[in-house]
């Protein structure tokens, strides 16, 4: 294909509409729905994922409104069960799992390695269609009465007793799993085979290492939940005794199969965020990453060890104590590579020349909140304390600190960081920083009280609670409303900036990385000439300590 690209010297800003780029190369719905350009597919995902985020967020708002009264303020208990289930299913499978990989990953992986596209562009488009079909099944389940099994679909309730739309939901998740598998496959092959000349593994941006590690989990874990949901479907339809104890099945087996994927899945949700973190911290400290190979290998270590710890979700289910022992020790092990990363980011900040742009505010928030979430995970990995804390709001707070305080903040930081590259526009910086602060405050007000509630014994997934917990619950709900507003603000100004934001140059952050050596927005084929790489990653001016750039 030949597009006329007017090569521009770096920093020379040409009005966005007058140069051919991937956004204006073709017009029309068909050019988007049948595109094979990884950048357009990333935007297709961005739109769909944002929609699912707000659907899942709607259920969260309903839950928090309901919980301002000890006897429940809003809905019947049966409905509350559906609210927390739908919130979980949608947020886990349709927002968090695809979020960074399908949007930023799809957009950036080829660009960061100096390639023109992913290895299999048509598979990439198929991935998105599969995601949409899975989402459609699940949304159908929502409007046809919802599901009340919890996002974990534990049997025998989900296989035998629940009268809600289990099958459409399970089918939706099953189908969407294939979207993840294909994305992971695409990334692995692309990273192995399509790096630009001179781009050795140890010169890769750490975001690529993170995408690679995430893809390993996509490939090895997702098929297992696929077969598990299929067995659940069979059991629900045919009642043959795979998971129903009354007819000889083993419900714990369901949990083993379910968590074999779902534990590594939580690392699918955090590893890409960690990759974004390495990019943000280095750019906004104007410093090389501290301990590059440690951070790179820790991504792989997290991916591999994540497959060995799933039983820590089952300590109190009747699993063998001896298996519990093994899983507990291994769970302590998996914390180590995560801690390594936090130490390395902090060391990168030390004596760096730090600027507090919005992406950096999200990154700094991530370090604090992810650390808290991670440390509280150790409480839960310890068998004895888990007996007390399991099934309480402590767990809810733990994983929200990681998923929302960690993954979502990294996602927003990444969206803001690469927004000029993706759209060719700058967003209003003041609003962006304000929103980041609102989100930080709202988040902590929502979820910190939940640590206390859990420690004091308030169970999760309950529609009512003892009245002595009301103050903390009201605090949490107040925080949730602030958080909700905080999420709406970027939605508004980011959309606004597409039309009215100042035009961005190729590299507004003066960042390192091949993606910043292209115009903003990039042309369809990414690079006129495939670059030859000679420097290490994050080759910011100034050695350690002299970071005034």
């Amino acid at each position: 294909m030949s597009t006329t690209v007017i090569a521009e010297p770096p920093g020379h800003e040409v009005p966005a509409g007058s140069r051919v780029n991937y956004l204006n190369a073709n017009y029309g719905v068909k050019s988007w729905l049948f595109t094979t350009d990884h950048k357009r597919i990333a935007l297709l995902y961005l739109g769909s994922i944002t929609l699912m985020f707000f659907v899942g967020g709607f259920f969260a708002v309903m839950m928090r409104l309901h919980l301002i009264e000890p006897q429940g303020a809003l809905v019947a208990p049966e409905t509350y069960n559906k609210l927390f289930t739908m919130h979980g299913v949608i947020m886990v499978f349709f927002f968090l799992v695809p979020s960074i990989p399908a949007t930023l990953g799809n957009f950036l992986v080829p660009m960061m390695i100096g390639a023109r596209d992913l290895a299999f562009p048509r598979l990439n488009l198929l991935s998105w269609y599969i995601y949409i079909i899975g989402a459609a099944f699940t949304l159908y389940a929502v409007i046809s009465g919802g599901v009340d099994t919890g996002w974990t679909f534990y049997t025998p309730y989900s296989s035998t007793f629940s009268h809600t739309s289990v099958i459409p939901t399970a089918l939706g998740v099953f189908i969407t799993g294939f979207s993840s598998i294909l994305t992971g496959l695409n990334f692995v092959v692309t990273i192995h085979k399509m790096r630009a000349p001179g781009l050795t593994w140890f010169r890769l941006p750490l975001f690529i290492w993170a995408m690679y590690a995430t893809s390993i989990i996509f490939i090895l874990g997702t098929p297992v939940i696929a077969i598990t949901l299929f067995l659940l479907f069979l059991e629900r339809v045919m009642h043959i005794g795979i998971f129903d104890p009354a007819i000889g099945g083993d419900p714990i087996l369901f949990q083993h199969l379910f968590w074999f994927y779902s534990h590594p899945a939580v690392y699918i949700m955090i590893l890409p965020g960690m990759g974004v973190m390495s990019e943000l911290i280095t750019c906004f400290s104007r410093k090389r990453i501290f301990g590059y190979s440690f951070v790179a290998f820790s991504s792989l270590a997290i991916a591999i060890i994540s497959f060995l710890v799933w039983g820590h979700h089952m300590f109190v289910t009747g699993q063998s104590i001896y298996a519990g022992l093994i899983f507990s020790v291994l769970s302590f092990l998996v914390a180590i590579p995560s801690a390594v990363k936090v130490f390395n980011w902090t060391a990168t900040l030390y004596k760096g020349s730090i600027s507090y742009d919005a992406p950096m505010l999200y990154a700094l928030g991530f370090i604090g909140l992810f650390t808290m979430g991670g440390l509280t995970g150790l409480f839960l990995a310890s068998l004895a304390t888990d007996v007390h804390l399991n099934g309480t709001y402590f767990i809810v707070a733990h994983f929200h600190y990681i998923m929302v305080g960690g993954a979502v903040m990294a996602y927003l930081g990444g969206i803001h960081f690469w927004w000029p590259k993706i759209t060719g526009r700058l967003y209003p910086d003041g609003w962006a920083r304000f929103a980041a602060l609102v989100i930080f405050v709202g988040f902590n007000l929502t979820f910190f009280p939940q640590f206390m509630l859990g420690y004091l014994g308030m169970p999760r997934r309950y529609a009512v609670y003892p009245s002595e917990f009301q103050v903390l619950n009201v605090m949490s709900s107040a925080g949730a409303s602030i958080l909700g507003i905080g999420y709406l603000i970027p939605l508004i100004y980011l959309l606004w900036s597409i039309r009215y934001g100042p035009v961005a140059g190729p590299n507004p952050w003066r960042a390192k990385g091949l993606e910043w050596q292209t115009p903003s927005p990039p042309p369809t084929e990414n690079f006129e000439e495939i670059p030859i790489v000679t420097e290490d990653a994050y080759d910011y001016a100034g050695v350690t300590g002299a970071g005034r750039g």
């Binding site: 192995h192 390993i216 090895l220 087996l253 199969l257 063998s320 104590i321 001896y322 298996a323």
Partner: protein
């Protein structure tokens, strides 16, 4: 995967070997070897699989990356099976309540 062309004779030999192993495993099934029946059947299956992988799928002539990918797949499957079975088989074991105090006494040199 390289441009190495495997000779037809090799393919034919592997084919014959696979048929022989199939006949063997079927015949052994009718002989009472107790628990060894399962071991023999699975061993023969693994050998047949290796013959297909190495020769029909050309892994004998493939890069290290291909081999790591295959090994990784089987390794993680083994993790799934073994840790799940570890739970299933040890669920019935009851811990000895006196074990910890016994250990403490031993460490302190007490009777």
């Amino acid at each position: 995967m390289s441009a190495h062309i495997v000779p037809v004779k090799t393919y034919a030999a592997i084919f014959i070997a696979l048929l022989v192993l199939t006949a063997l495993t079927t015949a052994v099934a009718f002989v009472d070897l107790g628990p060894l029946n399962t071991v023999v059947a699975l061993t023969i299956a693994v050998i047949k699989m290796l013959l297909v992988i190495l020769f029909f799928m050309h892994v004998k002539y493939s890069s290290g990356l291909t081999r790591i990918v295959i090994v990784a797949g089987f390794f993680f499957l083994a993790i799934l099976v073994s840790l799940t079975l570890a739970d299933e088989f040890t669920r019935g074991w009851t811990p000895n309540p006196g074990a910890w105090s016994t250990i403490v006494r031993l460490l302190h040199g007490l009777p």
